[in-house]
Symmetry: C2
Subunit: 204 residues, 2 copies
Amino acid sequence: MNTRTYSNTPSPTCDVRTRILTAAGERFAQFGYNKTTMAEIAKDCDMSAANLYRFFKNKLDIGSNLACACLDTKLLLVKNVVQQTQQPAAERLHNVVLQILSHTHNEWANNPRINEMVTAICDARLEIVNQYELNRHNLIVELLEDGVRRDEFSIPDVQDTAEAITTAITLFSVPLFMSLHNLETFEKRAKSVVQLMLSGLKKR
Amino acid sequence: MNTRTYSNTPSPTCDVRTRILTAAGERFAQFGYNKTTMAEIAKDCDMSAANLYRFFKNKLDIGSNLACACLDTKLLLVKNVVQQTQQPAAERLHNVVLQILSHTHNEWANNPRINEMVTAICDARLEIVNQYELNRHNLIVELLEDGVRRDEFSIPDVQDTAEAITTAITLFSVPLFMSLHNLETFEKRAKSVVQLMLSGLKKR
DNA sequence: ATGCTGAACATTCAAGATAATGTTCAGCAT
DNA sequence: ATGCTGAACATTATCTTGAATGTTCAGCAT
């Protein structure tokens, strides 16, 4: 008669985690990670602070989950550009770099609190940013290999080249630098960098 | 080189300025900028703290002069590499990048105090780092133009390309990043970046 | 006049006290 | 048994205040 009311990963529990993350995310975005207390998050979820610890190891763990989600979003943007397979690889590389720049600049300008949170969490949990970098590296590898496959690019060592590209666009990936110039200046620079890289990658 | 805009006073005064800078430099290197007091610098020079203000506007001004000197040293290293005109431009570009990396890493590892001072001063006086960047940009322009003149390079826009190169080696220029990897990893990356850039610059 | 100083003043730093927050857990309610 | 809480405890942040330091200037010595 009754359908099963529980499972291996009980859905109520998942729901609660999501509710907590949503509440915490809103607080963090509005007031920052440090200024948000566990008690406040708990109140938003109509529960006690102690109860939060049944779903997350601690505050940093909540922050880490949110930071991961932010980085995943960032990654998804890049992925979407890379997988526009109807476009030439060269154009996609160009778009990837400008996408990364525009996202970094945008977050820095419009969501400073979230940005501050991501930075703080990544400071405390280096593996998160490592994972993100690795994933982004793999996306660039995918793009380069596709370019080679299509005879657009000629690349001796794809791994090395992907690393070189990642390194070369550091300025556009680190929020800290965003205060140095306005977006137009950055875009001009990004285009110069892409042009320089492409002239080295293209097959002739 | 950074122009000294601070004084055109006679040579005995310059001597005192030099003595003060030397004393301050030693203290800053050993104890850091913040932990060094004007009174201590003054005592090292057998004078009163008040007398320091006859030669420098304030403590930051002393720090600025020393920071400029550090950046001038850095610049001189690059200049020396660029002006090894018996070497191919490509090789010189390679050496410039590795020189910058090695110097950044070395200062970070061996002179953390001085490094901290330069960073602090540059935070307070952005024009110092701007001047340094401009000078370095010009050196790279010089190198690129030389490469073009010798028919090694083919470069549509030297200014843009020099900017692109400066941008692409950000990771190797900023002390803050030095904690991310060990020197070998950085050198490997630097070589990849140089190779990528060179394959774009070289005439074929 | 010139070069310098000691003392005064303004600002920053640091140590200790206090409050706020993060975390844990025994125990209550269902 | 399970889910949750209030209270206790540990850690971290904030505030306060005296001391240290940066800076200025009237006045002394040459």
